[in-house]
């Protein structure tokens, strides 16, 4: 197998006048779990559909493990596993028959296909339902069937379009656990509009909006872009008085009071925690809560995709 990589070269998709994906270029390497983030209609799904060979790009191309998705689509598809949005599958088939069909389509023959389907059933904990038809399954099980078909040939590249959308918290946890388990020896690309998911799963995040790549960073790097990053929030008895005292501090850039919570933003490069706890002690304030903010992803997301600074 050639080296593990996805290389997108100014990928474009236009529908008439609408530009869905606008010159997207990026590279992904082994061990990376890349999260596509973006508002609905940003072009995340379209990008994935082009990578997996469902849609032909209007211009540009991408290489998956060195195979061109336009000129050598079948070779590129062979090394990918894909979970389309909503995890579609043939509802009238049983789980086992469906997975055997996928296994044969993925190049397993006869007994090997049966074995591959069995292994996928075990891996995704579908042992309770293999003889049930897919349409009778709950949403969580259906999603697992979708994941099972995506990993049945142990692909080196996994493309998952909103893998946890519509699942309950336990199911989300389970699916994330599964994805993390596979991450080390693969490339995994997931799309999501759940910010917590990026934090929980990915080691790299790309924010896409209007088909353009806006930010390409680690989740930690994204959080650090938040104006809340390293800010201190406290709840005190006399917030107005405390606010005026804290705004005098040289380390504080700004103090905000919102719904009884006082947030102090640090000046560039300053650490606030010690200074503030000293100040609290000096004035003997009654503090019921004091926390260091890591940053707020949703705020970064809004800021990047709408240019909004609240």
């Amino acid at each position: 197998m050639s080296n593990l990589s996805i290389e997108s070269r100014s990928l474009c998709k236009r529908y008439g006048n609408l530009v869905a994906v606008d010159g997207l270029s990026f590279e992904v390497g082994a061990g990376e779990v890349l999260g596509f983030l973006g508002p609905n209609g940003a072009g995340k799904s379209t990008t994935m559909k082009m990578l997996t060979g469902f849609l032909a790009p209007t211009s540009g191309t991408a290489l998956v493990n060195g195979h061109d998705i336009v000129d050598d689509s079948l070779a590129a598809r062979r090394c990918m596993g894909y979970l389309p949005e909503g995890a579609p599958s043939y509802g009238e088939m049983t789980v086992r028959k469906f997975l055997e069909f996928i296994a044969r389509a993925r190049g397993f023959n006869g007994k090997a296909a049966i074995k591959a389907a069995g292994a996928a059933i075990e891996r995704l904990n579908l042992d309770r339902v293999p003889e049930q038809t897919v349409e009778t399954l709950s949403k969580g099980f259906k999603r697992r069937v979708g994941l099972a078909q995506a990993i049945i040939h142990n692909p080196s590249v996994l493309i998952l379009d909103e893998p946890t959308d519509g699942l309950d918290p336990n199911q989300k946890h389970e699916v994330r656990h599964l994805i993390r388990d596979m991450a080390s020896e693969k490339i995994i690309v997931i799309s999501t509009h759940l910010l917590e998911e990026v934090d929980a799963l990915c080691n790299r995040a790309m924010i896409i909006s209007d088909g353009r790549l806006l930010v390409d960073d680690t989740p930690q790097g994204l959080i650090a872009r938040s104006r809340y990053h390293d800010a201190i929030t406290l709840v005190v008895e006399q917030p107005e008085k405390a606010a005026s005292v804290l705004s005098e501090l040289s380390q504080a850039r700004k103090v905000e009071l919102r719904e009884g919570e006082l947030t102090v933003f640090p000046a560039d490069g300053c650490k606030l925690f010690e200074v503030i706890s000293d100040t609290v002690r000096q004035h003997d304030w009654q503090v019921s809560e004091l926390r260091l903010e890591a940053g707020r992803l949703d705020e970064v997301f809004r800021q990047v995709t709408q240019g909004e600074v609240s």
Binding site: K49, F54, L55, P88, E92, M93, A105, G107, T133
Partner: protein
């Protein structure tokens, strides 16, 4: 060859299991058999004619297919698109053409099965007299080929929409046009202003004319080529339509 035919037969097998795991297949077969019987014995006056052949049986097949084949074909792609499985199918390592061929062949074999299940009528006619079984065999072949032509049209129409009812009506209209293109009511629309070459072409498009030859026991290479071409061209159109429309 195995790498080309393998995916086709895999898609075909999946489709066929799909047919028989829903009531569609059984409903189709029962209706097909009942209608074939009604047409042959009542409208076709099978007994009263006193001739040991299956002409009254085969002559109604075009009309039977006109309604029943679009009913089988309408779900082929419309259903895949509505449920989103088209995205799953067409990102597997197989070409669009292989997927189209696999699904078409499954439906065609299915119609073939229904056709074979009419064998009691063949037994009956052999019990009552001494028919020319060569002609009957040729009739079955012609009927199956014609069903393939209808089905290729229905498959292509089904790729145009995600609504099965729309697919059904479109197929019905196009099949009807193809069936009747040689008859006077259609030809009168063109004669008088269209050149003779065009008139001949249109007349040659007719399913009925080509089917009539084969069902009389005359297996002419031209008729076989005609049906093979009709099927291939409509399936190619199907592939193109699918490539164009799968995005929306």
């Amino acid at each position: 060859m195995a790498t080309f035919a393998g995916p086709i037969s895999n898609v075909m097998r999946r489709e066929l299991t799909g047919y028989f795991s829903t009531p569609v297949a059984w409903v189709f077969i029962v209706i097909f058999l009942v209608m074939a019987g009604v047409f042959t014995f009542y409208i076709g006056s099978f007994y009263e004619r006193g001739i040991a052949d299956l002409e009254p049986f085969f002559q109604f097949h075009p009309w039977l297919y006109l309604f029943l084949v679009p009913a089988i074909g309408m779900r082929l792609w419309a259903e895949e698109r509505r449920s989103g499985t088209v995205e799953l199918l067409l990102t597997l390592p197989l070409t669009t053409w292989q997927a189209v061929a696999g699904k078409f062949l499954a439906a065609w074999f299915f119609v073939g099965t229904a056709l074979l299940l009419t064998f009691p009528i063949w037994v009956t006619v052999n019990y009552l007299g001494q028919p020319d079984n060569g002609v009957i065999l040729s009739g079955y072949l012609g009927s199956w080929l014609m069903a393939g032509g209808f089905l290729a049209i229905a498959s292509c129409m089904s790729a145009l929409t995600r609504n099965q009812v729309v697919a059904f009506i479109l197929s019905l209209v196009v099949c009807f046009g193809f069936m009747l293109s040689g008859l006077p009511m259609v030809m009168n629309l063109f004669s008088g202003w269209a050149p003779q070459a065009l008139l001949d072409t249109i007349a040659n498009f007719s399913f009925l004319a080509h089917f009539a030859d084969i069902s009389r026991g005359v297996i002419d290479l031209r008729d076989l080529v005609y049906f093979a071409l009709v099927i291939t061209l409509w399936l190619m159109a199907n592939t193109i339509v699918l490539e164009l429309k799968k995005a929306d």
